[in-house]
Subunit: 272 residues, 2 copies
């Protein structure tokens, strides 16, 4: 079988920073033969607390960068961008676009037996109501409780994954969701899977945690099939990492998110 | 007395975000008749974890923005910029430039009786060794212990100023400084004065805290005198605020830092 050029083209993935590496990790597990080009906008991270206008502008620039690498599809790993700027990415690219909101919402509705679903995310993601709207479109009777957890990103980046301080902060953030007796919780930010154990602890393990990254990898596989552009190769995939800045502690933090060594990371120009 | 045009020109102040409002607060108290133009790069905040190269590029753009407002001098409120990019600001402006490092270092050396001085700041500020070098130039025998406190910025921005979690994190960050029996601590980041009470608590009130902002306002007064450009007006000063993004919670957080209502805040163009 001769592979068409489009099939060997990489999947483009972008995020505000390195949190999106948890999505790359899921993609590499689900689709080990797909080439990937990752871009993390580390010079301007975080997007979560910023205005939708600014996030849209950055998303357009991030998309243009990936398109210059002739990607066959784009995965918006960033929940904030997926919440407020997915249509900007669709407009700026001429390839299929998958965000993390809809796959995460679908997985939550499927997992929840009582249809009492919690959503946590950045201030931008939660203010957008994107998850709430997506879940309600799938099941209009679902009860959805959402909560911004702005300190989870810096706590995860600093590696305070099983620290007493993180536990105290998590208890406060998650208290309203616990009160509402949710049975399923969407981790609506790429950083949050790093904090799984402390979040589980708050819910005494009684709540299903939905990692949007894993759900998104499943959706990406479906879209590749649908468009007939799955890479038929059995070779080891080529995964390339670009960032707009290589800050202090980058490699250390990046490896924690990817779950393995990052290899070569290149600086993308034109983002200052 | 007729004031020369230069005397009524504003002082330009910039910071990575809104932390620099603690410096504006000190300036407004020390020099209540000086007009001020403030710029906070809220579209790209924080600078602390980013690389010196990126911080220098942003500092040049921030300086150009203030120069377009014909400022008579520039105050670099941001400790990270003052640490790694002061010469960039000097090169891009043709007016006197005051950073926060030297005033903070001087105030620390003056306040310390045992010359055992601690310095806390962002990862960028601490990695630069700017405070350590400045203090050692003033007193070569001083013992200086420094510590990056990356979570202090998000904790201050989230208003967790007297929270148990902040106390736990502060205890860990400050433990090495306490061990070294410092008698003076430089708050080497514009956000940290917000956390004064929790920091004092860790040291049982036995350590003098140096707010670089207050020391800097003193230095600004001296430089204005030296150049004969102090504003002779007795009128209420005109203080203008510009930011590159107006994100969620901006006004609330800004007021906490300025210690009063912000008034009108305008969006500066050209920073995306």
């Amino acid at each position: 079988m001769t592979s068409k050029p489009q099939q060997v083209q990489p999947i483009g993935v972008f995020d505000s920073g390195i949190g999106g590496l948890t999505v790359v990790r899921a993609l590499m597990q689900r689709l080990p033969h797909e080439n990937i080009v990752y871009f993390g906008d580390t010079a301007r991270v975080p997007y979560g607390p910023k205005s939708p206008q600014v996030v849209r502008e950055y998303a357009a620039q991030d998309t243009d960068f990936l398109m210059r690498h002739t990607v066959k599809m784009i995965v918006v790993a960033c929940n904030t961008v997926s919440s407020v700027a997915l249509e900007v990415v669709q407009k700026h690219s001429k390839v299929p676009v998958v965000g993390v909101i809809l796959p995460g919402a679908k997985a939550a509705v499927e997992a929840s037996s009582k249809k009492r679903i919690g959503v946590i995310g950045t201030v931008g993601t939660i203010a957008s109501n994107a998850y709430v709207n997506a879940i309600r479109r799938l099941d209009s009777k679902a009860t959805v409780v959402s909560q911004a957890c702005p300190l989870f990103v810096p706590l995860a980046e600093e590696g305070l994954v099983d620290h007493k301080a993180t536990e105290l902060i998590a208890k406060e953030y998650l208290f309203p969701l616990k009160l509402q007796k949710i049975d399923t919780l969407v981790l609506g930010c790429t950083h949050y899977p790093i904090l799984t154990s402390v979040i589980q602890h708050v819910f005494d393990g009684a709540t299903a945690l939905i990692d949007s990254g894993i759900a998104t990898a499943e959706e990406v596989a479906r879209v590749l099939d649908e468009h007939g552009v799955k890479n038929p190769s059995n070779q080891k995939a080529n995964v390339q990492f670009f960032v707009s800045d290589i800050p202090h502690k980058f490699t250390e933090v990046g490896e924690r998110f990817l779950g393995q060594k990052l290899g070569r990371v290149r600086k993308a120009e034109g983002f200052l």
